[in-house]
């Protein structure tokens, strides 16, 4: 009996070792996989985020900032992608922007992987793919991460039972001392990049990254910051721009301009009571216009069916088609009548929104010295043209170097 028990224990142990080895290799590969960002002549330089928080040195949060600088001095815009690494349109749109935008005046800073730690793993219980693949015009296959909403527990663990968000040492004339800037959130939100702003210099790696971004905006006097996201189709804030109160007029102009060209977006004011988010804290603790863009992502929602790379790229899902049929589509906040919502469309919406926001900012500040000019988009009609081409092509690889 004892011998039998010993044999079964040995068999189980061997199976566990094999499983740990196979999956360990897979997790390790993902942890260390570096995306190939193909930098063109439009990128005039890069620097590390630790320039704005030395506590980031040697950590996974010390990511590259890409500088798209025009010949002529002008305004400054920061584009954040990959805040939530399970929202691929945010990450990919930032990469398309840094590889495609030709800036002739002013500076566009792009950080496509602001939560690099989140890109290096997947959310437990969510069953998502690890990578996305795209074939470029040249026939090269480029591989990108599909990651997690939160930083990797390898970088900060354990989570507290509840996360008490604070604004650290930051003060701002825009925030009255009477305003409660602390907030109790679910414990796992301590690893959510978009709940940790304005950040803490020597906090968790997630808080350190947020601190560096806030500090960078203040130091470089950046005029506008745009954070690119995606949301579940059943989430009310969808295909929308969420704007800090100081950026509402600018966002309204963008919504109107794009709306005139059949790119329909909604505008959502940033809730004053929801702390830690870019559109709230970066608007409160910097002088930049703070905006966040959302677009519907079927590979993220709770109604989704079989989840794989194809779903993330095509957005084609029978469960969402069924959900859209309930009460005439009232349960969803995106038009899912076509039965899909492809990544190329979602990225096109983000790129068009960023291009239009830059145009609207130029109009809003009405100061030549603070304007930014992107040669690809001389006017709103060019934005529409780019958008239509990208949607019609339905192949994101064509927009990657």
């Amino acid at each position: 009996m004892k011998k039998k028990g010993l044999i079964s224990t040995c068999i189980i142990l061997c199976c566990a070792i094999v499983l740990a080895t196979v999956t360990g290799i897979s997790f390790n590969k993902k942890r260390n996989f570096v995306e190939d960002i193909v930098v063109g002549s439009n990128v005039k330089g890069t620097f590390k985020l630790d320039e704005y928080n030395e506590n980031l040195k040697g950590t996974i949060g010390d990511v590259d900032v890409y500088v798209l600088k025009g010949e002529e001095e002008g305004g400054k815009v920061l584009v954040l992608g990959g805040t939530h690494a399970n929202e691929p349109a945010g990450h990919m749109a930032a990469i398309v922007i840094l590889e495609q935008f030709q800036v002739s005046k002013g500076t566009v800073y792009v950080i496509p992987n602001i939560c690099q730690s989140g890109l290096t793993h997947n959310d437990p219980l969510e069953g998502t793919p690890q990578y996305l693949h795209f074939t470029t015009k040249n026939g090269d296959v480029r591989t990108f991460h599909f990651g997690s909403r939160a930083s990797n527990p390898i970088d900060q663990w354990p989570d507290p039972d509840t996360y008490l968000h604070t604004s650290g040492d930051w003060t701002s004339a825009k925030v009255s001392p009477d305003v409660n800037t602390t907030q109790t959130l679910s414990g796992s939100e301590v690893r959510n990049q978009n709940r940790c702003y304005p950040g803490i210099a020597d906090g968790t790696v997630t808080e350190r990254v947020s601190y560096a971004v806030t500090n960078m905006i203040n130091t470089l006097k950046i005029d506008m910051v745009i954070d690119l996201h995606e949301s579940s189709p059943e989430y009310a804030v969808n295909n929308a721009i969420v704007a800090h109160q100081d950026a509402l007029s600018l966002a309204s102009d963008t919504v109107l301009q794009l709306g005139d060209r059949d790119i329909l977006l909604r505008i959502e004011p940033s809730p004053a009571a929801l702390r830690g988010l870019t559109h709230r804290e970066l608007g409160d603790y910097t002088d930049a216009y703070a905006l966040l863009c959302e677009v519907g992502n079927p590979s993220q929602g709770r109604f989704r069916g079989y989840t794989d790379e194809a779903l993330a790229i095509t957005g084609k899902d029978p469960c969402y088609t069924d959900a859209y049929a309930i009460n005439g589509g009232a349960l969803l906040y995106v038009d899912y009548s076509s039965g899909d919502f492809p990544l190329s469309l979602r990225v096109a919406r983000h790129v068009a929104t960023v291009a239009q926001l830059i145009d609207s900012m130029n109009f809003e500040v009405d100061d030549e010295a603070r304007s930014v000019i992107v040669d690809n988009f001389p006017d709103p009609d060019a934005i529409k043209e780019f958008y239509d081409e990208m949607v019609a092509a339905d192949d994101l690889g064509l927009y990657l170097n």
Binding site: L19, A20, V22, T23, S26, F27, N122, P124, L125, E126, G127, T128, Q130, P158, D159, P160, D161, T162, Y163, L164, T182, Q183, T184, L185, S186, G187, S188, E189, N192, E234, Y235, A236, V237, P271, A273, L274, R275, G301, R302, F303, R304, G305, Y306, T307, D308, D317, P318, C319, Y320, D322, A323, I326, N327, A330, L331
Partner: protein
Amino acid sequence: MLPELKEIFMTPYMITFFVMVGVFMIGCFALKWPVGVSMLAAAFCGALEGMLVHGTSFSQTITDTARMMVEGEFGYIDTILTIACAMIFMKVIEDSGALDALSSLLIEKFHKAPAVLLILIMFIIMFPGMITGSSTAAVLSAGSIMAPVLMLLGLDNVTAGSVIAMGGILGMIAPPVNTAALVICAGIDVPYVGFTGPLLLLTMPLAILFVLMLGLPKIKNLNYEKLKPALEKQDATRKQYGFKIYIPFLVLVVLMVFFKVFAARIGVTDLGMPVIFLCSAAVGLFTGRKINPLKAVPAAIRTATPVMAILMGVGMFIEIMTATGVRGFIVVTCLKIPEALWILACCISIPLFGAVSSFGACSVLGVPFAYIYGTYLGGNVVVCLAAISLIAAVGDMMPPTALAGLFAAQVTGVKKYTKILVKCIIPIIILLVWAGFVLVKSKAFAWSVFG
């Protein structure tokens, strides 16, 4: 077969669902495997069937299945650590005589007012749940401490277990910390603000009602003089060690309150429940009867192993359900029923899904129902979320995971957990009716939103 039924039952998702449930049942009931192992087998078979049917290559299916099962296994790692450490604490206070001493003290002080004593016991059971958001923490800490008290008062072990289990699930929902509500808040981007009032309103009346309903008939004729001989051993332990035997409880309460309520506000890092339990257990080694940690710790871990295995199995099961589309299929099927029946779907499907995991139910079904009641039907979001979190807490009573029920059975020495579930059916129905009513009429309870 009707076309609508055919449409539902003949989808690939339904087939995967049947495979997973079928393998689980065969493992559990025919092969008598442990629940955790049955869930592992169900997840594995579901993944193979689901991925191969969707045209994934065999090698990709194997590597993805392996990765997702390990990923899912780690989904509840924090809870698993808490359970392991709580069991060590429980074993130490049991062996040190601290449980005996506290039972004797409470009965001596409060025997003249049995109803007040019962309500006090209920609040003590709830307290760790209130500050950790976990029914497991409540049942394994305060529940284990109060179990002998309840039994000495005259409650049979099934009734005592039922009181503890209901206290555990109400404690996890009562403010200030309600992890179930926090999970839903995170899902729909609602700040955890204003929940204190609705959560008190939802839980406190039920707590008083349940403890009196279950316990009072058994102890209303409590005769302390008759009870005294049965307390001889407990009294002796109490006199032998005096105040110092209670120190582990004090350490536990002080550390919990400090780290859960105050620490973050003064910038001190939370130690976490596992370390808090271990610190309290370490103190317990020196405050009562002599304990050999080399025997006590393995014994505690052996006791906790089946539940820890269930949680690992649950993680794999949910991950594979999600990857294969079964999760989405279940959610959309629930929403396909007529609007008037959504409340029934909510009150039935969420607790049933809790059989896999109550927090999983919050994420999978709680979030869509929160959208529906809070946004689509225009209810008060805070009240809706509070009510849904209470409904989800019932999941901790649902077999096979049944964390609150299983641990309550363990601390009261009940062999078959189902006896506790049967005893709790009426309280559970009352709870669901109350929570459902508040959910549907959430606007009428908007006045309670504060804190």
